[in-house]
């Protein structure tokens, strides 16, 4: 035992334990996010509970089980809840009951002793709605304008699905009308206003110009009225049908089909159906717009915003990072300046991201953006165009933030290219710049790629600086749309990381939003870990490739 201690074996085992601990933490964390994120989409079984309260009142509750917990009986007794004598702990279930507008809380804890019956009735239906969250209940009848369909679920459901399909088509039509024609008219009207204001500022506003603007406005307004009329007609059509559902209070509630997004009966679904539904739910999470203050629906604008901003950043950071790395490795003489540049790179890498945010806000947004507004957009005053946080400034800020990543990675790639190749090229009469363009950069391109991927991964996960320079909780429009000039760099955007912060911490109903945050987290982690894996893969490939050149 003494020898065993002296050999240092316990210490070695402790260090080994540290590695195990780190691995558990890493893998545990990733699996936690994956599990919680993916189960969010799984169609859970819906139960119909019958509760018998201690005072003899019987209550019906319909919902899906979210969590199970045990509560010390004493605590319940202190709160005045009756618990049978001799019971130490009481099981409880957190049930999502939906039907938000009809009950006080859409989540409630049920104590297991009070549950006298629990049935997963096959006819229980889940309605996803565009307002007030899910609705749970039994389908009672279908009201198709003039015709009323009654009967059991099997007879109503096919007709209901047909009716929903019809509403969906109308919705799509209305949406296209709204997003294309109407939004384009609004955009043009705003442009006319700005053009007129511009002429006014420049003192060139003649009565002729005013008349022409008025004429344009009139035409647009006429068009607008036509579109609006047809939009209202479509909306009117949409609200024709409704479905009557019996909810947990036993009352019949009529749900208009225009408010429904999806209907499924999870208790009837086979495993294959459930998997298909699960995949479809994930897909719609990625491609749908958020609803209800981001706590329901998809995250498409956030994904789009993240990708757009990161791509813009990549376009900015790559040339500068690569040039700086080439300077450091190929051109700079070893001297004081080079040393300072290196220290600058190291320090840039270590500066906290929020400091970049502060810098970006002050310098890019207020100084640069403010000057651009003064020079180019005097007609928009007092509302800022570039002088307020936006996607361009976010991309620029993150470009500075990720500059060191690209520099370090590119330099590493450059240092792996054997000297002999450069010397060979120079000996054959090429100038240094030709050597650079024709030999070195092509060979270093995988390293540049690696740096770029790492930079993108870093930028995709950064939130703190973006909170200052351009990200918003809800952006009305994407940075790209059908209105000229198509790419609107001054617009604010949504970001997946900020979406997580916002929904998880700023939303009014955190309990309801939490699973969605796990889902967004899973999405973000997948993207970032994937990007990193790619970078590591490229790096390893690169090392292997040049190993053969090194001897």
């Amino acid at each position: 035992m003494g020898n065993w201690y002296k050999s240092g074996s316990p210490w070695i085992w402790l260090t080994s334990g540290a590695v195990s601990l780190s691995l558990i933490a890493v893998i545990g964390l990733l699996s936690l996010i994956a599990w919680r994120g993916l189960t969010y989409f799984w169609p859970a079984t819906i139960y119909h509970f019958e509760l018998t309260h201690p005072d003899g009142v019987i209550e019906q509750v319909i919902g899906e089980v979210y969590e199970k917990d045990t509560i010390a009986a004493q605590r319940l007794r202190d709160n005045g809840t009756f618990v049978a004598a001799g019971v130490e702990e009481v099981g409880s279930l957190l049930v999502k009951t939906g039907n938000r507008e009809y009950v006080e809380l859409d989540f409630r804890w049920l104590l297991s002793p009070s549950i006298t019956a629990k049935v997963a009735h096959p006819d229980l239906a889940v309605f996803e709605r565009n307002k007030n969250g899910n609705f749970y209940g039994y389908i009672d009848s279908l009201n198709l304008g003039s015709q009323v369909v009654t009967g059991d679920v099997a007879t109503i459901r096919p007709q209901l699905l047909v009716a929903m399909e019809r509403v969906d088509q109308l919705k799509a039509k209305a949406l296209t009308l709204q997003n294309n024609e109407i939004s384009s008219i609004n955009y043009q009207l705003e442009k006319i206003r700005l053009a007129q204001r511009k002429l006014e500022i420049e003192n060139k506003l003649t009565s002729q110009a005013i008349a022409s603007f008025e004429q344009q406005r009139l035409t647009l307004n006429e068009q607008y009225l036509i579109h609006e009329k047809s939009l209202f007609a479509i909306r009117n059509e949409m609200t024709r049908d409704s479905v009557v559902v019996r909810d947990m209070r036993g009352e019949k509630v009529s749900l208009n089909l225009s408010s429904l997004l999806d209907l499924h009966l999870p208790n009837q679904m086979s495993l294959v159906e459930k998997v298909l539904h699960w995949l479809a739910a994930m897909a719609s999470f990625v491609v749908d717009d958020p609803r209800e203050a981001n706590t329901e629906g998809g995250v498409f604008p956030a994904i789009f915003g993240t990708i757009f901003m990161v791509m813009l950043m990549a376009v900015i950071v790559t040339p500068f990072g690569v040039i700086a790395a080439i300077y450091l490795h190929e051109y700079a003489k070893k001297g004081v300046v080079t040393k300072f540049v290196r220290v600058a790179v190291i320090n840039l890498a270590g500066v906290p991201s929020v400091v970049y945010g502060v810098f970006g806000l002050g310098f890019f947004v207020y100084i640069l953006g403010g000057s651009i507004d003064e020079l180019l957009y005097p007609e928009a005053a007092p509302s800022p165009v570039f002088g307020s946080p936006g996607v361009l400034w976010s991309a620029l800020t993150l470009a500075i933030l990720t500059l060191p990543v690209v520099i370090v990675s590119t330099e590493e790639g450059l240092s792996r290219i054997p000297m002999s190749l450069r010397q060979g090229s120079l000996a054959l009469g090429a100038t240094k710049s030709e050597t650079l363009w024709k030999v070195i950069i092509p060979m270093a391109s995988p390293a540049i790629m690696t740096g770029l991927i790492l930079a993108v991964a870093r930028a995709a996960g950064e939130v703190a600086p973006l909170m200052l320079v351009g990200v918003v909780k809800m952006a009305p429009t994407l940075p790209i749309d059908g209105n000229f000039p198509f790419i609107h760099l001054e617009r604010k955007f949504m970001h997946l990381g900020f979406h997580i912060y916002d929904v998880g911490f700023q939303s009014p109903n955190v309990e309801a939003a939490r699973p969605l945050v796990f889902a967004s987290s899973f999405l973000l982690v997948t993207v970032i870990v994937g990007l990193n894996m790619t970078a590591i893969g490229i790096r390893n490939y690169l090392r292997e490739k040049y190993r053969s050149l090194e001897h």
């Binding site: 035992m1 065993w4 050999s7 316990p10 070695i12 402790l14 260090t15 080994s16 334990g17 540290a18 590695v19 195990s20 601990l21 558990i24 933490a25 890493v26 893998i27 964390l29 996010i33 500068f320 040039i323 080439i326 051109y331 700079a332 300046v337 300072f340 540049v341 600058a344 190291i346 320090n347 270590g350 500066v351 906290p352 929020v354 400091v355 945010g357 502060v358 810098f359 002050g362 500075i400 500059l403 100038t431 240094k432 710049s433 870093r458 950064e462 939130v463 703190a464 990381g497 912060y501 998880g504 911490f505 955190v510 939490r514 945050v517 987290s521 973000l524 982690v525 970032i528 870990v529």
Partner: protein, 733 residues
């Protein structure tokens, strides 16, 4: 045939080469410039808060008759003065200002005294009446250009108000007026002190405001009344009687018996004047020896008492103290004609300016960017630049005694709902929070990261190492917003519900690992040869998980047995320690998790790159692997490990999202692990979007960013220097 452009001395090729060289050099230097630009820009924004005030004369206005009141409009375009005949003279302050005009106030007697409240003037007359008037300025754009015009309006329904029914001259008056209430305290020539209070009430029929008046007479007053001051809330009345101060509560039933009576003069000096600081909580006392003392009420053993807080000094006797209407800045005029500007809470002397005229009185312009000084036969207007008086070195980094606080303290409280609020901008609590969060994170991260790196670099078979290292390094890329979210919404409730579990884990995991090692040691040789010790990492995983499960099971038992069923209540009530759900423990765990990969990766590299011949030599001389590690490898790699810890610290200091999401963000100063903190970075993220550009708050937040920048600059530079030394050292080996 070779083309001309490929000839060895082709000028185009040479030009291209040179162009590439220049542009690349320029690009490289741009990195350096970027860093300098960030540094420079932060300083550029921060710098104005440390500037002292500037004053310069902009206009001189001769005054024929003696002025009793004077001032200017908000834009410093029109000045005015009121003379003994109650004529308001408006005069231009700038080139574009309108020409001089006069308005005669309708007075029924001679003016004997005056007072002001905000922009409202009160003139006490010799017939027991008071006239209330307000010079008012209006902007008009109707003619296409901007035009400013001046007039006088009367805030009450009648210009004059009868104060003394006996119609005696009002020798001294004090006025406070707001939209709902007006109070006038007047001293008549026969030494009666009268309080007149008017309340605005809406007439039910006409829906017009009517002023309902109420009059009170003091039964006993000090014999000598030198000055009368009324607080803006119209509750407290201060009467100076020579060197004594009487404080009355006007809202109490015994309004005429003083709440407090105290001597306010400095030793060997007499009081020359008193003034109320904005907000009316502080009283400033000027002395004949040039000391100005600030007093406010402090809650003590004997209730709320006026207490002397701090002193300011000027040369010579104090003639007048004038306070800014909205900030805690005040100007002092002394008998030699010197104007000094002070800010009370920041204890800063902002300005000291010797006037060339025989100054009688001074006023601030309404926006605090001008100062008007009345001399014998002229009124001078001075431009004043004093944007950020509330920030000074002592206000940022030292304990400050704020109004209403029982003692000097470090406080960060930048905004509040009320207008009277004074921003409290001490960087100490948030710097403390930053350091606290970073230290708890390091406490958790350093042992695990370094121990893990040692094992990975030195003991682990390379096949396993190839998997383990990238896995741990993947964590570095994990967005901190996700860690913060998990810490705040998943970990914090778990830790709260299972406190004993967390502490049991910390104790039991090392014990379990050592016990496993011991068990392995005593395993029968046959079995042992089947289980390779090198893969201990793999079979320690279930051990750790098992221990965690065991702790989870033990936790409620301990909680019920030792902590009366609920750890949280036990800690907060029995031990008397504050407990927040989102506390330093959660932050430490989450942020520790974020810095583990940084420290792990650099340490691992440092240990792995220790030349093999060093450890081989040691092993060959008979040292065990552990001895070699401690005696040779770690020693050689120690600068690298130090550098790793520094990098980790740098990252922990600057981390924003985890601290933002996993703490309550309360700026408290307490090392308690169960309470939260507010860090510099989180503070910036929370407050920056709401702060007004170029305001003091905005600049102080930039200063916070600058401090953060310096913090990390310091840690990173140390780390880099040490690493460079390490590289040189290995170069020689």
């Amino acid at each position: 045939m070779p083309s001309a452009s490929l000839a060895a001395n082709s000028p185009i090729r040479q030009l291209k080469d040179r162009l590439t060289r220049y542009s690349i050099t320029l690009g490289g230097l741009m990195v350096l410039m970027t860093l300098l630009m960030i540094f420079g820009y932060l300083l550029y924004v921060v710098e104005p808060i440390f500037r002292s005030a500037k004053i310069d004369l902009s206009q001189e206005q001769p005054v024929a008759s003696q002025a009793i009141a004077f001032g200017s409009d908000e834009l410093n375009e029109i000045g005015y003065f009121v003379d003994r005949q109650a004529i308001v003279n408006f005069y231009p302050l700038g080139k574009d200002s309108p020409a001089a005009t006069q308005v005669t106030l309708p007075i029924s007697g001679a003016v004997v005294s005056d007072s002001k409240s905000g922009a409202t003037l009160a003139l006490g007359l010799n017939n027991g009446r008071v006239l209330l008037a307000q010079p008012s300025f209006s902007l008009d754009f109707s003619s296409g250009t901007r035009q400013i015009s001046a007039d006088v309006r009367f805030p009450l329904s009648e210009p004059e108000l009868l104060i003394d029914l006996q119609q005696k001259p009002l020798d001294k008056i004090a006025l406070q007026i707001d939209e709902e209430q007006t109070s006038v305290v007047a001293l008549t020539s026969d030494q009666r002190l009268l309080l007149t209070r008017l309340s605005a009430e809406e007439n039910m029929m006409t829906e017009e405001l009517e002023w309902v008046s109420e009059q009170l007479e003091f039964n006993n007053t000090p014999e000598i009344i030198s000055e009368i001051l009324l607080t803006p809330d119209q509750r407290l009345l201060f009467i100076r009687s020579g060197n004594q101060l009487y404080v009355y509560d006007l809202l109490s039933d015994e309004f005429d018996s003083p709440l407090q009576l105290l001597d306010i003069n400095q030793v060997n000096a007499d009081v020359t004047t008193i003034a109320l600081l904005s907000g009316g909580s502080s009283i400033l006392v000027g002395n004949s020896n040039g000391v100005i003392s600030q007093w406010f009420e402090v809650n003590g053993e004997r209730g709320r008492r006026l207490t002397k807080i701090r002193e300011f000094n000027v040369d010579g006797s104090v003639k007048q103290i004038e306070t800014e209407p909205s900030r805690k800045t005040f100007a002092v005029l002394n008998e030699t004609g010197q104007v000094s500007l002070f800010h009370s809470t920041s204890e800063a002397q902002l300005l000291s300016y010797q006037l060339k005229i025989n100054a009688q009185a001074l006023r601030f312009s309404p926006r605090n960017n001008g100062m008007i000084i009345l001399a014998d036969e002229q009124i001078n207007f001075y431009h004043l630049e004093n944007e950020h008086p509330e920030v000074s070195w002592s206000a940022l980094w030292q304990e400050v005694w704020y109004e209403g606080y029982p003692e000097p303290d470090y406080v960060w409280q930048s905004t509040s709902a009320s207008d009277e609020f004074e921003p409290k901008l001490s960087l100490v609590p948030i710097s403390f929070g930053t350091i606290k969060a970073a230290l708890f994170a390091m406490l958790f991260a350093v042992p695990i990261a370094i121990a893990g790196a040692i094992y990975t670099a030195y003991f682990m078979p390379s096949r396993l190492r190839k998997v383990v290292k990238p896995t741990v390094e993947t964590m570095e890329a994990l967005p901190t917003v996700i860690l913060g979210f998990l810490a705040g919404l998943w970990l914090a409730p778990i830790v709260e519900d299972n406190l004993p579990f967390v502490f049991l884990l910390i104790i039991l995991i090392p014990v379990a690992i050592v016990l496993t090692a011991l068990a392995y040691h005593y395993l029968p040789a046959a079995l042992r040869s089947n289980i390779n010790e090198e893969y201990s990492v793999v079979f320690l995983i279930p051990v750790v998980l098992l221990v965690a499960y065991g702790c989870m099971w033990l936790s409620p038992i301990i909680e019920n047995g030792l902590m009366a069923g609920d750890a949280r209540t036990f800690i907060s009530t029995e031990l008397g320690i504050g407990f927040d759900q989102r506390n330093a423990l959660v932050v430490g765990l989450a942020m520790g998790f974020a810095v583990i990969p940084t420290i792990f990766s650099i340490t691992e590299d440092a240990i792995f790159s220790v030349p093999k011949h060093l450890s081989n030599g040691s092993l060959a001389l008979g040292a065990t692997r552990w001895q070699t590690l401690v005696g040779v490898v770690l020693l050689t790699a120690s600068p690298g490990i130090f550098s790793a810890v520094m990098m980790g610290l740098g990252r922990a200091v600057g981390e924003t999202m985890i601290v933002l999401m996993a703490t309550g963000n309360t700026p408290i100063m307490d090392w308690n692990i169960f309470e939260g903190m507010r860090s510099l970075s989180a503070n910036i993220a929370v407050e920056m979007p709401e702060s007004e550009v170029n305001s003091t708050h905005y600049r102080v937040l930039f200063l916070a960013a600058f401090v953060l920048f310096i913090f990390t600059f310091f840690f990173n530079t140390i780390a880099e220097l040490v690493r460079q030394r390490l590289r040189e050292k290995y170069g020689s080996l």
